[in-house]
Symmetry: C2
Subunit: 212 residues, 2 copies
């Protein structure tokens, strides 16, 4: 249902629902209930029921959701069936890993090209994607109407790269640098912040051992 909006809390759970539904083998599960999804994922029943109701109107009392239909609705809602072009800046080890990652097309992400400030890597390829000099970034973004920029440069260069992306029309930034980025209103930054994840892991171990 394009145009419908859901909370971020709901949004982050939808990919897990989709993955679970896809993992079920065909004929045996033509219909799936919210309860079954909740049990499999260790979530609260009521939460799952509300989430699914927000993206689908195909649920039937006592029967549940048609599995194929719900999968299609989730894929559509998540934009997986409608590929978005992106570019990546910073062709270091992490950048190259992302360029070679074969799973993005299934999530509707198409990386057109990468950019790097180092002339030694410009002109090479990774995962079939060209690595181009920074000077070409703006032109390519504007020409191809690229709206997603992926930042995999070292932290000290991230804000400058972010500014250049926004200047070139990017509206959503996927930030792998462990720094805070300032962006104008209307631009989204999705942080893939390893420092935050590590803090969560470390805190868990601390609590785990302090209660022993």
């Amino acid at each position: 249902m394009p145009g419908r909006s859901v909370s971020k809390q709901t949004l982050v759970r939808l990919p897990a629902y989709l993955h679970f539904l896809q993992s079920l083998s065909g004929e045996e599960r033509r219909y799936v209930s919210a309860t079954a999804v909740a049990e499999a994922l260790g979530l609260n029943d009521v939460v799952v029921r509300k989430d699914l109701a927000a993206v689908s109107s195909a649920g039937r009392p006592k029967v549940g959701y048609g599995r194929a239909e719900l999968i299609a609705e989730l894929e559509h809602f998540l934009g997986y069936d409608n590929s978005q072009d992106a570019i990546l800046v910073g062709a270091g080890k992490l950048g190259r890993a992302l360029l070679s990652y074969e799973g993005f097309p299934q999530y509707g992400l198409n990386i057109l090209a990468a950019f790097d400030a180092d002339p030694r890597v410009c002109g090479t390829e990774e995962g079939g994607k060209k690595i181009l000099p920074m000077e070409k970034l703006s032109n390519l973004c504007r020409r191809m109407k690229v709206r997603i920029g992926i930042i995999t440069v070292p932290g000290e260069h991230a804000q400058k790269v972010c500014d250049a992306l926004i200047e070139s029309g990017v509206l959503a930034v996927w930030n792998f640098a462990s720094v805070h980025l300032n962006v104008p209103e209307g631009v989204l930054v999705q942080n893939e912040n390893m420092a935050v994840s590590l803090a969560i892991l470390s805190n868990h171990l601390k609590e785990r051992f302090s209660t022993k």
Copy 2:
């Protein structure tokens, strides 16, 4: 303050505070107020004040926090000053990128070794870390009392790897596979889920264009 516990909402903001404080140049900012931190990071004043009060008792009215002292307190709270050993399973492109990432020690993470099921990569090294066969995983984890396991295998193998890690004493799993992992109580899974991030980016673009 070890042993103090904060909400997850607070915890995820602490690395950003730390990074901001570290980015300030020395003498000019011996003291920093919660308001200054809030302004720099685009956060609410009250939120920052409460967060900082939860990890530090060094704030002084009208003066603020001693910068060096607050940095030390945040580093300690986040466990960055107390290195945790980890092992990584799955030496593909993403796994190798993480093995080579030089930023982990500063966050208190020390990857001891990697494991892979492919005999062709076993015995090689990446980022100075040995890649070992899966058969050696349990022994090494137990012997070194490893509590953190990093999963970078394809989704279909992730649960099996996760079970093996927990069996070997791991209490915190950093999961880069885009699948839900079932773990017993007391074990934490921190998901680095690209599918979720992409859903958030895509949803932003959808909302952005539907309101135009």
